[in-house]
Symmetry: C2
Subunit: 398 residues, 2 copies
């Protein structure tokens, strides 16, 4: 069902020097599937992250934010249970997992970052995770991507090589997410690692800048998850990228990987049959353009019109009018790909519906809103709202 | 499919002295259905209204707001075409309709309020409306309710009698709406008339207060329409309700009628199989309680869980956390009807899922969130998100 999204092969994904991956079947929710991975990092690795702003922030996120202050040596990630809405007991269970990983790897619990995804408000079976640690098998990035899938239908991973002054650096990342996707800081879960050596301050800036150009530009259903986390890891065993051209090149490669992963989440959005870019142009500020783009991307009426390839495009104008941005609507133009649908706030006299239908029947198209009152622009990637969205979310768990 | 909503009979709906109704088939979108009504008011009638805040406000709404400054003598309402996103040409067509009605009734065009509902961004066939005016047949409130339906499956009307010092007054109203429903000022279209005599200042206050306790408390899909209008009409031919007890009694009757109509819109929400009251209690302000209630009522994940009768209730906590209200989540309790699901921000240890399943299988239930930090409360009425919501909105028009 995913829109133009094909599973990567293990060969597509370059291993990152300084990162060791281990994967296991811990039977967290169901037996017989990869549902746990541990990422071990060498000494000197640096890690930076951005996290959900949902006030019901999950226990592992709270703990990961705290442990991020230390010299991080490992990540432990499970699917099947989000350990969110679990209060103090959830915090205790998340810490037990860190302790078990610390013990196995000979590091402190406080050097382990825990991440969880899956059902909310059920106790995390920490003992099953601990029991599975001796069974960890060396794994590829593809194994890790598979081990964090929930309603995802395709594992999400991307990889790039980039030539820096000191030699070639690798950037490889994975992500998961298909529903409850409207990251406010980052995706549900995203991990990108590079072997480049990046100073801590630069890495923190890079993770924020990357999130704003990738995971913070997507929405499936407007629901920001309790567990959103995006981590950027620089093992430092490869060439240096501490400033100037090298840092810019690395940033470009990291952003490309992040955008590919963020778009993969939308292509695999729950029930998605269309991949739609909503671009709002010539606004006064990027903020107002984003606000309008999200108003369009979140409207159930617009999303069902995408699904039907039905150019019931007044719905898009209505969403623009609902965005909360104070607008002179008589200046607004609307395009589907290159078809001008509305001009100066009302239907273009040249416009014929069959043109928009043809554009909307494609699995990917562009909705372009031109405000004609400034120079700023912003884009959001989203999908349609189909029968299968309802099916997946009505039947998930049951 | 509507949830516990049965069509009223004409006998349930008391005629309002001072109001004359005429209904016609104008063939606006399809031939052979009632799609036009005219409400004629006697001299001295007072009218007050609240309107959509959507920036793409429809042409008839702009004109109705303007004409409301005059002594209003008629309303003309059509379904099949919203005359929204139609620019200057739309304004011209709306005015033509007022002119035609004015001519027929011997009043000025500026004394006529026009209202339209239906498809957006298509030219209003004003000439068909004008041509149908000679065919207007005297109609009941039920006829009028039928003449404004779009995706509604049941006509919506309600009626009350109220005893005032000067005699018995009548309050009768109609409304329409099933999708694009998240009124910001009023419902898509709602008209309530009374024969009581109410001073203009009081009537303006009453229409706002009523909207806030009825149409402004409902949401189907979070999309505020371009045409939302709620009108309160006092013909003044009946007993006086100018202040004190009489005004309070009348206000109560008007609010009851408005709440019944607003709830009818949700019961008949597109694809609705459940009618859910979301009540947020013990907050610091009504505003924060409403914000949280709407965050729950707008979450597609929560709405699909309602549809499935699946107590995947972590989704409700996630929505609370996403509301934008700065909360101490460890104080939050969550109930489905009387079942306590979460206590102090995490799963109640006594809670068993089968209890919540039993509550959620009913066609009507209560979601109650207790913030435990103040004395304010607010409630929102909403419905679930079902296969049929997608079906209706993907197939509407086509």
């Amino acid at each position: 069902m995913a829109v133009n999204l094909f599973p990567p092969t293990a060969a597509d994904l370059h291993p990152v020097p300084g990162v060791e991956l281990g994967v296991a079947m811990a039977g967290i929710r169901r037996p017989g599937r990869k549902d746990l991975f541990v990422m071990r990092l060498g000494q000197g690795a640096r890690v930076a992250g951005v996290f959900t702003r949902n006030r019901f922030c999950a226990a592992p996120v709270i703990l990961a934010k705290k442990h991020l202050r230390n010299a991080v040596r490992a990540l432990v990630v499970n699917t099947g249970n989000a350990n969110a809405g679990t209060g103090r007991d959830g915090m205790r269970r998340a810490f037990c997992v860190c302790e078990a990983v610390g013990k196995k790897l000979g590091i402190k619990a406080s050097q382990v970052l825990p991440f969880s995804t899956g059902v909310i408000m059920e106790p995390l079976p920490a003992e099953r995770i601990a029991a599975a640690l001796p069974d960890l098998k060396p794994g590829t990035w593809l194994d890790a991507a598979e081990a964090i899938m929930t309603t995802d239908t395709v594992p999400k991973a991307a990889s790039r090589k980039v030539r820096l002054a000191g030699g070639e650096a690798t950037v490889t990342g994975i992500a998961k997410g298909a529903g409850m996707i409207r990251p406010d800081m980052a995706t549900m879960l995203g991990f990108i690692a590079t072997d480049a050596k990046v100073p801590g301050v630069q890495l923190k800036k890079l993770v924020k800048a990357t999130a704003d150009r990738s995971f913070n530009c997507v929405t499936v259903d407007g629901d920001t998850s309790t567990n959103d986390s995006f981590l950027l890891i620089a093992t430092g065993v490869g060439p240096s990228a501490s400033s100037g051209k090298d840092l810019a090149k690395l940033a470009e490669a990291v952003t490309q990987v992040a955008q590919q992963l963020a778009q993969a989440i939308i292509r695999d959005g729950e029930g998605a049959t269309k991949f739609v870019t909503v671009r709002v142009e010539r606004g006064r500020s990027e903020a107002e353009c984003r606000k309008i783009a999200y108003a369009i991307a979140h409207s159930p009426l617009v999303k069902t019109a995408f699904f039907a390839s039905d150019p019931n495009l007044g719905r898009i104008l209505a969403a623009v009018g609902n965005s909360g941005v104070d607008l002179d609507t008589s200046k607004v133009d609307l395009f589907i790909d290159t078809v001008r649908v509305a001009r100066s706030g009302s239907r273009d006299s040249q416009y014929e519906e069959k043109q928009a239908i043809a554009a909307m029947k494609k699995p990917e198209f562009l909705v372009r809103v031109v405000l004609n009152r400034g120079k700023a622009a912003a884009a959001v990637w989203t999908c349609d709202l189909s029968f299968d969205y309802v099916k997946i979310n009505a039947e998930y768990r049951t």
